[in-house]
Symmetry: C2
Subunit: 228 residues, 2 copies
Amino acid sequence: MAKGNVKVLGAWPSPFVMRARIALNIKSVEYEFLEEKLGSKSELLLKSNPIHKKIPVLIHNDKPVCESLVIVQYIDEVWSSAPSILPADPHDRATARFWAAYVDEKWFPTMRSIATAEGEEARKAAIQQVIEGIVLLEDAYSKCSQGKPFFGGNQIGLVDIAVGCFLGWLRVTEKTSQVKLLDEAKTPGLVKWAERFCAHVAVKDVMPDTDKLAEFAKLLAKFKAPPK
Amino acid sequence: MAKGNVKVLGAWPSPFVMRARIALNIKSVEYEFLEEKLGSKSELLLKSNPIHKKIPVLIHNDKPVCESLVIVQYIDEVWSSAPSILPADPHDRATARFWAAYVDEKWFPTMRSIATAEGEEARKAAIQQVIEGIVLLEDAYSKCSQGKPFFGGNQIGLVDIAVGCFLGWLRVTEKTSQVKLLDEAKTPGLVKWAERFCAHVAVKDVMPDTDKLAEFAKLLAKFKAPPK
């Protein structure tokens, strides 16, 4: 579906960049993917997102749109004739925005803190909190999907994209921290949902391989570590 | 404008609660204001917002909507025939959502940190950051309003509500920290905008008096302090 010139400034391991790419895939919008390099920021990125200087940035007809959830909603509104990402009903839309904000503000920061927790007690507390969050998301999935395959019903919606983009990093965290976070016994609905989400045609080519992502995580940790 | 039964669970000093009330005022929606008491949470609040247990909650026809920016967008979508809070153009909508997220995620947390900063250096750094944020908002105001009275143009929009609700606390911070944050010399556009916003018919009855809010801030600090 063509509607002007579309570019995404991003990087393959970023869950936030994935959101923009999946939304464009759902809408069958072709785009140019401009990969930012680890440790440097392109002139185009600095010019397009001067406030946060962060990926992703969607550039549509030379106008930048920043912040992943803002981008997904923008894509949904511009290519409105293709499958909808947000539900039609205002209360369902509010519920979708609520859960998308929850994963960004509460759940993902806690998952990220597992790797950086100081001491075994803090690490265990973080793991426990992440699992509690997953249980909440299982309940939200059950209510939002109403027996259908996705949070968005029969198709991928805002919450699918918001949660699903963290699956790669969740698996890396499971692997490196040797802990089970997404557990068949506790959250059977989400386990099946995760399989469906990763296999979806709009997702599978942008969902990173866990081993490759784990390698990148090592590189990132090295990169962020203070020089000795 | 009637469209079912509307309640707001809130408290008068909360900037986030103000957002819901202003949005309802813009739409001329009558609502029942159920005031939560400092230090306790009503059964209705716990039932309506079990995830965050926080105000504001909008209850519309017995269905709760949580998170202030989600509530404002919900109100805009349900009472869509009244003046719009979000712009019609998708790029303008994305810009409005971007700035609303900026004030919540970056600017307000920094302003709040002025009062809790440990040491004069940290306090000065926080003040500097807040002022830099206000300069960014002045620029955003100039671009969004295009010479009209509000971020939203001729009427109050999402960014007006998002930023404007912090004006009471900004004044309290100026007073208690004896520092000028909103400055005629640096940000003349925002100073005039703030006057217009506070005088607006949808705002003036819910914008708290600075002295009353400063008294509340003292009470809150006492309440939050660990027992001696």
